[in-house]
Amino acid sequence: MQDVVVVDLGGGSVKLGSARQPDKPKVFPNASAKQKGERSSVVGEAMLGLRDVGGLSLRRPVDRGYVVAWELQRDILARSLRVLLGGVSPAACGLVLTEAYHNLPALREAAVHMALHELGFASVLLSTPAPLSLRWHAHCMPGLAANQAGCGVVVDAGFSFTHAVPIFDWRLLPGAIRRIDLGGKALTNFMKEVVSYRSINMMDEAYLLEHIKEQLCFVSGDLQADLRAARTRGSPFRCEYVLPDGLTDTWGHLRTQQEQEALAAAAAAQRAAHGPQLPKQPVLAVNNERFMVPEALFHPSDIGMDEAGLAEAVAQAVSAAHPHLHALLYSNVLITGGTARCPGFRDRLAAELRALVPDDYELGVYLADDPAVCAWRGGALLAASAQYPQLAVTRKEWMQHGAAAFAKWGL
């Protein structure tokens, strides 16, 4: 059986692996990073080995969710593919590659060109992430009626934007897809701006702040109550994050209760002994930013964007589909994507949706176990199935028919 490589090409990270080993794909940033003062840049998977993540300037091949810098994208993929495949040539393998929703024809052709000619695969299958995620969900929960019909709404909360994608019979309903132009990147930049004003200037530290955002942020269930609690002196949300020094501590760490007490005791002892005060480590203090940052995804009007929030986007997407499908779609809302890892995401979306959905519809909101890797896992299932040879476009078909070969994908 031909080995098939599955690559989920995201704006923030690439998930890459072989369909033969569906347990743990490799996940690494989809970017090349250059440190200030250095000449060479670190590309893709090698970024995981960086010890000093401060002051990195990133170059991403993806702009607004679509791959536009194909040379850089090819370099990022080629490196990791060489390691993954070992000595095997890509010409003996197939490729499942993801593309963004409503991809432009020019960009789709560039993707296929890169896969078949530059990377040298034997065949390629392009798919959007949502049907793949639904496939994995159906594999995990086969009992659901909607899963048996291949029907559901996939909420893809990604890096560049967030989509609500209704699917029926394993196929997208293109007229019903709704997009919010806010994603993990915008939330990180929003947090960067807010934190730089209120605490320490982190405007050059987007890469580090993304990591901090994942550690600290959560979605609030009751915003007014949490804001009231945050106002008090003993706010339960107040946190201190010790910034990394780039030598021993690559990412920094959250200051725990014991550490705080130990530091307070040490400072008190120094003061009592009239000795010099210990140098203060740079510490990021956050309080209500922890839940106000993800709040922007549910209410983009908070930050001045004139777009509807996530719950409304899902409701609009379902309303745009055929009325007979509404009940099935609402019963199977699947949340995927890296941003969905934020604690409290699922409960908040379920609560807001319940208020918008007519109460004779049953509402089922599911969060994938590892939302970032969900689409990849679905891709691995597709690659291993009998559908791959039927749907994949081989190099010969591409050279003979060009873009007309995409007809088998329904495009």
Partner: protein
């Protein structure tokens, strides 16, 4: 009765200067556009920027071009690698690499007939179920007041003082 037009300069005190709606909107749009940046753009023109490939040398350092244009100073655009600079490469360096917006314009999606779904039709529209909530721009709490000069929100007198001392009207300076 019309006010007589005087030639006297009228200087409005800084505390009374109000930024008008277009400028306020422009600032908000700039902030939203900055949310899509990969790297912080603020320090592009700071001294010591070490992008070796693209440098605009200062005017006095330029060598004169040969031929009829020797009377004018031309900016030299260095393209990395010491290769021969073609006009295409120089154009790309000055204009910047092609971004998604360029591909979108080229695709001409506005010309598609009604009912054909595309990137443009997928945009979720303005919010219809809830009014925008207003938060203090300084501390993030619910805000009840608006700065009369620039339109930012604040929640208390203390936050207003911080706002006027640090951020208010800085962007139009």
């Amino acid at each position: 009765m019309d006010k007589k037009r005087t030639l006297r300069n009228r200087k409005v005190s800084e505390r009374m200067a109000v930024v008008d709606e277009t400028d306020r909107r422009r600032v908000i749009q700039a902030r939203l556009a900055a949310l899509e940046d990969d790297n912080h753009q603020g320090d592009d023109f700071a001294a010591g920027s070490d992008d070796d490939e693209f440098e605009l040398p200062k005017g006095s350092g330029d060598e004169m071009e040969d031929g009829p244009s020797s009377g004018r100073k031309k900016k030299k655009v260095k393209v990395g690698g010491g290769m021969r600079k073609t006009r295409g490469m120089i154009a790309e360096k000055t204009r910047g690499p092609k971004v998604f917006r360029d591909y979108l314009e080229e695709a001409g999606l506005e010309l598609l007939p009604e009912g054909v779904p595309s990137y443009l039709t997928a945009a979720v529209g303005p919010p219809r179920i809830a009014a925008p909530r207003k938060f203090c721009s300084v501390c993030g709490d619910m805000s009840a007041y608006t700065c009369t000069r620039c339109g930012s929100r604040y929640c208390s007198r203390r936050c207003h003082v911080v706002h006027t001392e640090t951020r208010c009207l800085k962007f139009i300076a």
